[in-house]
């Protein structure tokens, strides 16, 4: 079996938001819709303070609450673990947005552009009416992954088959791969590092694993 997952090495991430911008480009999302973004967290009190950069987005959960609540079956989970939205079925009820404990879903009801009313040439060219009034979120760049698999590439290794945020990450903090493959990059990273998953207590089985310390410590 294949189970796509991501690791985010918190020791590496610098919060530069290059993944955010790369995602905005790759997925042509409207202003403010960030499938991938990096949070800037401050932990502790002066002078014992830490600042932690935390990449977040859809966790492609094992038990996605968004899928469970979806009244239309627009949200589904593929056999390889990716949680998908069929924009042609979704009615935009917003229920999945509320069900997601990772705040990963967005709904945009009217065309919006970087420079307010006016679409730039690239925005006009890429405008996709299907995404209005429906839920949208990170797809793990499924089009790249599927293209790669169809062309004999390895997602997470070959850039053409890898999510844009991972390709763009300057610090190599983000890694994508098959959790079920013992030789995959993500599996190896998880073997070497201690990790946690966000809000794991909610039973969602999220598939972004946060690395926070090496195992040898």
């Amino acid at each position: 079996m294949t189970k796509w997952a991501m690791t985010a090495d918190l020791g590496r991430c610098v919060g530069c938001q290059t993944c955010t911008t790369a995602c905005r480009h790759a997925n042509n999302t409207p202003p403010g819709v960030q499938y991938r973004k990096v949070l800037d967290m401050e932990v502790g009190e002066f002078p014992d303070v830490r600042r932690v950069f935390v990449p977040v987005g859809c966790m492609h959960c094992d038990e996605p609450p968004c899928r469970d609540v979806c009244p239309t079956t627009a949200t589904t989970k593929r056999a390889d673990g990716m949680v998908m939205i069929d924009y042609d079925i979704c009615i935009g009820c917003g229920y999945c947005i509320l069900a997601c404990p990772y705040q990963a879903r967005y709904k945009v009801t009217k065309p919006t552009f970087a420079f307010k009313g006016e679409a730039t040439a690239n925005e006009a060219q890429r405008f996709d009416e299907r995404l209005l009034g429906v839920a949208q979120k990170c797809t793990f760049c499924v089009d790249r992954v599927d293209y790669g698999l169809a062309n004999g590439l390895t997602p997470g290794v070959d850039p053409e088959a890898t999510p844009a945020c991972v390709n763009a990450c300057l610090a190599k903090a983000l890694t994508f791969g098959d959790l079920d493959d013992p030789n995959s990059n993500v599996r190896k990273l998880l073997d070497k590092n201690k990790s946690f998953r966000m809000h794991e207590e909610l039973g969602t089985g999220p598939n972004i694993h946060y690395l926070w310390e090496t195992e040898d410590k």
Partner: protein
């Protein structure tokens, strides 16, 4: 810009702690209000049939409330022309199940207008509909104040309380024999249950079950709701018992207040104390050969323990 983005605080970096959801507003709350009060009324109307009381007006009123609720939420969806897709998700979604139950409730209710005997079974889809509504909230994992298991008895008890309230309010106008005696008893029981569940629910939310901001809303709401929405109607019910000459008016007042109290509860839970989960980390990372540190859960009372 997305709706969420527009609702983000002006200081953009503050979007770490849970913030008030914006996907569902008063229109969605309207569904829970109409659905709760409507099904509650239908359940009481159905129960009354066993006592030989039959009122088309109450039946219609109950169905109308449910229908208004559904229409209200219809106004909120992004693609209304595809509204019937809502029926596809019966395998998992309580929203689909609610819609399916509505598909039984309305024909049955309509038929009961013609065949009064059918009123006796209207309570079944009505109760199912009310239960679906409770489960809709409970399944919303992203909103801590909704996903609490206590939301189930709370929504059910307030539905009955609202329905009983509507029954006491409308009964004198439409029932020739007036309100049956058990009407007041049902309301007082439902109110007692509601306030009892509320106390537990509120405490659990305030004790770390909900983000601080959501808990604060519940704390602020609790006094007025307990006194105004629950104690006051009980007082009116007691007054009705003590002063028979004022009974009709007192019962109606008790019913009205009990119903409005339920509506306020839903508006509060659905649109005001509806903060999302926010973000959290279990550990601060080690940077290079530095030390790792504790986790962080902004906007919550509890801080997850460092598991090291």
């Amino acid at each position: 810009m997305s709706e969420q983005e527009e609702a983000q605080p002006q200081m953009r970096h503050l979007g770490l702690a849970p913030w008030l959801q914006t996907a569902w507003d008063l229109r969605a709350a309207g569904n829970f209000i109409g659905g709760g009060s409507g099904t509650g009324l239908l359940i009481l109307t159905s129960a009354a049939a066993y006592y030989g009381i039959y009122s088309r007006v109450l039946l219609l009123a109950g169905l109308a409330l449910v229908g208004l609720g559904l229409f209200s939420v219809f106004l909120e969806i992004g693609r209304p022309l595809r509204a019937m897709n809502v029926l596809f998700g019966g395998k998992r979604s309580w929203m689909t199940r609610e819609a399916m139950v509505a598909g039984v409730l309305f024909p049955l209710g309509a038929a009961a207008l013609v065949y009064p005997d059918l009123v006796k079974v209207v309570w079944i889809p009505a109760a199912a509909y009310l239960y679906c509504q409770a489960r809709i909230l409970e399944a919303t994992k992203g909103i801590p104040t909704w996903r609490s298991p206590l939301i189930l008895p709370l929504i059910l008890s307030t539905g009955i309380a609202e329905g009983a309230g509507a029954f006491l309010l409308l009964g004198p106008l439409v029932l020739e024999a007036g309100i049956p005696e058990w009407g007041g008893a049902v309301l007082i029981s439902a109110l007692a249950a509601r306030v009892f569940v509320w106390m537990f629910y509120r405490r659990r939310m305030v004790d770390g079950g909900a983000p601080v901001a959501a808990a604060a809303v519940l704390i602020a709401f609790s006094g007025p709701f307990t006194i105004g929405g629950n104690v006051m109607p009980i007082v009116f019910l007691v007054l009705a018992g003590l002063q028979p000459d004022m009974a009709v008016a007192a019962l109606a007042a008790a019913g009205l207040i009990a119903m409005l109290g339920g509506w306020a509860l839903k508006i509060t839970i659905v649109t005001k104390a509806a903060h999302n989960q926010g973000f959290a980390i279990d550990h601060s990372p080690a940077r290079g050969s530095g030390e790792s540190g504790v986790g962080f859960k902004p906007g919550w009372r509890e801080v997850p323990k460092d598991k090291t």
